[in-house]
């Protein structure tokens, strides 16, 4: 399942970094899940911080039913004056940078 902002939150570089290390499969899977959900939380936070509160309910109703719907981005672009796609990208890049740093910090010496 994809969501309407999947094209803005690219996690391939994080996954690639993680795959370079020797980690048991079960732990790797768990880490993947933690990383993607962390990015989701931050992305949704950015979106709702920008979207007027009066439109949250409508947005969340559609998101719950059809998370991939292009209607969602259309709502954001209509209701938010700033460049929301850029805001999502910037935040996800920042979080990915933090996650990559955590991975490198965990290298066994």
């Amino acid at each position: 399942m994809k969501v309407f902002y999947s094209h803005l939150v690219i996690v391939d570089d994080v996954i690639k970094e993680l795959s370079a290390w020797e980690i048991p499969d079960i732990e790797r899977d768990e880490m993947h899940k933690l990383i993607e959900e962390t990015l989701h939380h931050h992305t949704l936070n950015v979106i709702l911080n920008h979207l007027p509160a009066g439109r949250h309910q409508e947005f969340l109703d559609i998101f719950e039913k059809s998370p991939e719907s292009s209607e969602l981005m259309a709502i954001l672009k209509k209701e938010i004056q700033t460049d929301i796609e850029s805001a999502i990208k910037t935040q996800s890049e920042r979080i990915k940078k933090e996650i990559l740093l955590e991975i490198r910090r965990s290298k066994k010496s």
Binding site: H41, N49, I99, K107
Partner: protein, 284 residues
């Protein structure tokens, strides 16, 4: 080729903290999204490369939302800032009981602080007003620090000798505010009681523009109504709240702190008082 080893347990813990932090931040800002998390909409939707396992979220022993401290002072500030947007009117004006009660709850939820607009039946004419910069107050006769008022504060000197100045007094003067007790409707009729009640009364001030919060004491009366301001703040209070708009004034929420045991420290509040140390330092 053999892959280099990683301290996977350490990384897993770090990622769990990040995950928990992001979820806590999201729920603090937007509690209505909890249903999305519960419905699983936000699961397994970004990763399209490697094969996915069927590992379940239930395998992660994460504490419940209510047991989690927010992660950094930045997050705390952002959380209260966004919460206040929904409550405060667009212009500075006295709040109604519902708004004040709502803010009290948010201060407790986010900062673990018990603060309210009315305490022990006492209430200022407004709990949401403009604050302006004040000078330092003389703590004892001859306290000639730079930028100190020539006259005493409304409650006089803290002590009559520099030798008797305690750390508590230093902190009280450092983090003081002036409130308009002189305009209270019952100030003249209940002067003796109110004068004692307000003396060094602990208050919390929140700058709704940046979410910064500081605990101070009432140590002076004012400012005069003609100034258009409702509160005054010491240089340290104003500096922390970042009231630097050129006019040296700005909107602030000011609530009484319910702290009968005198346990809430004066100064910037950058953690949840009931949930202890931050889970994660820095990161923002």
């Amino acid at each position: 080729m053999v892959k280099p080893a990683l301290n996977s347990e350490s990384l897993r813990q770090r990622l769990k903290i990040k995950h928990l932090s992001s979820q806590t931040l999201l729920f603090a800002h937007h509690p209505h999204v909890k249903r999305l998390i519960a419905s699983g909409v936000l699961a397994s939707s970004l990763l399209v490369g490697p094969a996915q396992s069927t590992i379940t979220h239930a395998s992660l022993p994460l504490p419940a939302m209510n047991d989690v401290a927010l992660v950094s002072s930045f997050d705390l500030h952002e959380a209260i800032k966004h919460q206040l947007v929904a409550v405060l009117p667009t212009t500075v004006q006295p709040l109604n009981e519902s708004q004040e009660s709502d803010i009290s709850k948010k201060l407790h939820d986010i900062y673990g602080l018990h603060a309210s607009a009315t305490l022990e039946g006492n209430k200022l004419n407004t709990s949401y007003g403009l604050i302006g910069l004040e000078q330092n107050l003389p703590r004892f006769p001859g306290d000639n620090r730079p930028n100190t008022t020539p006259g005493r504060g409304a409650w006089g000197y803290w002590t009559y000798s520099a030798r008797d100045l305690t750390e508590k007094m230093v902190q009280q003067e450092k983090y003081y505010v002036a409130v308009q007790t002189l305009y209270l409707p019952d100030w003249n009729t209940r002067l003796a009681y109110l004068r004692d009640w307000y003396k060094y009364r602990k208050v919390a001030l929140v700058n709704p523009k940046n979410g910064k919060i500081i605990v101070a004491v009432v140590a002076d009366s004012g400012p005069a109504a003609f100034t258009g301001k409702h509160f005054g703040g010491s240089p340290e209070v104003m500096n922390y709240l970042q009231m630097k708009d050129g006019k040296q004034r700005g909107p602030v929420v000011l609530f009484f702190v319910d702290d009968p045991s005198d346990e809430v420290p004066l100064g910037p509040l950058e953690k949840n008082l009931e949930k202890g140390p931050l889970l994660l330092a820095g990161g923002h």
